[in-house]
Subunit: 307 residues, 2 copies
Amino acid sequence: MRMHGTDPRLDDPPGFVGGTLDRVDQIRTNPVLLAETFADPAARRLVLDGLEPVEVDGALVLEPIEADAWVEDHVLLGVDPTGRPIFAELLVELTGGSGATPRSRGLAGQVSAQELALYGTARSLLHWHVRHRFCAVCGGRTAPVKAGWARKCGACQAEHFPRVDPVSIMLAEYEGKVLLGRQHAWPPGRYSALAGFIEPGETIEEAVARELFEEAGIRVHDVRYVMSQPWPFPSSLMIACIAQATGDALTLDATEIEDAFWCDADGVRAAMAGEPEAPFIAPPRMAVAWHLLDRWLAGVAPREPSA
Amino acid sequence: MRMHGTDPRLDDPPGFVGGTLDRVDQIRTNPVLLAETFADPAARRLVLDGLEPVEVDGALVLEPIEADAWVEDHVLLGVDPTGRPIFAELLVELTGGSGATPRSRGLAGQVSAQELALYGTARSLLHWHVRHRFCAVCGGRTAPVKAGWARKCGACQAEHFPRVDPVSIMLAEYEGKVLLGRQHAWPPGRYSALAGFIEPGETIEEAVARELFEEAGIRVHDVRYVMSQPWPFPSSLMIACIAQATGDALTLDATEIEDAFWCDADGVRAAMAGEPEAPFIAPPRMAVAWHLLDRWLAGVAPREPSA
């Protein structure tokens, strides 16, 4: 099975992958450089509506920094390939939850992969700031430092850094079929790879094995990493794997999984082609699960050359 | 290069890998089951000294649960292979920082891989509890819920979950050599793989490329995942990769890296064998960097059969 990093189909990455900003780590911790960067006439502010994207004519909206703006109220996302420093304003309020909305989900079909990645980074960071205005150590107020890449407590001086929550997302494979499941809240017919947060004290591979056993009663071996994706709802790192199951008898955890079944390559291919007779509705192309299924298909049954 | 999950040397894992506890997710959220589990005469409390391990005769110390103990003050680490529920007490105070101590580091040579993994899980969780007694959203007091696998704010009801911070740790490879670096605070002569936290909005592969460019001025392609390791100081998920460099000219970030050099397979082999003439002192065997170097050696230059 071919699953390595040089696969040419990585030119078509999952959503939020492929950012082109230089994150300019050296500027974040240098107040003089940061002030110069903020004052650069080329600097731009990513326009957002709360945490929601603002898109016009197929592009995110970037505006010049206002003359009366404060650098302390902004995060420096990075410098784009044309040399423009890109900031986002931290003074946002949360209006909804942390999950994907129709508007943020829809952005994938509207802007370039690079802009989608830029939005994802901004969304994760802003969500973290809004939810970390107080110090978890002492309850004091925190303020942004390091160009918005950390917060510091004014009382106990503890520093806090943005969360990235690793999630294992996986296909179990058995006799040419893969295990697909659905959660209660999903649209009718939608099935996808199982997934769960990686916990303290686990490897990626141990988390894959635990999740498959917890959710479906499946034991696996030979867990192989396939690819990863940042998922900004609010700040996951999706780590996609394929594992070999030791059997196909399912014991579902009804609180997590509404249903699950083993699907063969023809069924997966039909679902990904959107065929009405397909055995399930595939996850959207922006999801790493779509690409995981695509890579699995490429391994078990090479596709016909496209027309 | 062979770097897949069936490599028999995974029987000798890095430190903190290979835990054998069933994490019994279904008990955490069921108060009746949790109370029964806590009252189980077989239940044991992992004895710790603050966050430091307590080891006697090559084993961690596990004591019966005291009759007057409260389940609310404990985290349920899981159920061991003999059926004993294993708890740890949450009412600890931090005496030092979050880094490894000589005592916690030394545990690797004293107890089994399974017990080391159990200690690592407990240490990460307890450190998180001590540092999250207040709500980052509103500053209110939080209390443990879900058998110690979450905390909930008494004021705003926000739920908070233990952190796992993904870190990329990597070898860049160029013309049969790998890039090794050292930090200012390390023991003299010690060199290892470069590493850095994965940020919001990045894939694992993008983080590897960014870190190598930030710290050493190296551009890479074809980043390949090799293995992962939980590192409980305080709660990292080390994600080890090998990347192909496009050149070998180094530009070091002096704030992060004291020195770096390209080392050939003979030099790496000598260092890992502890030879006095070796060009550097290898990282300890409990570190994933040791295993990353070992896997790299196995790929580029198969070792002689051991005697």
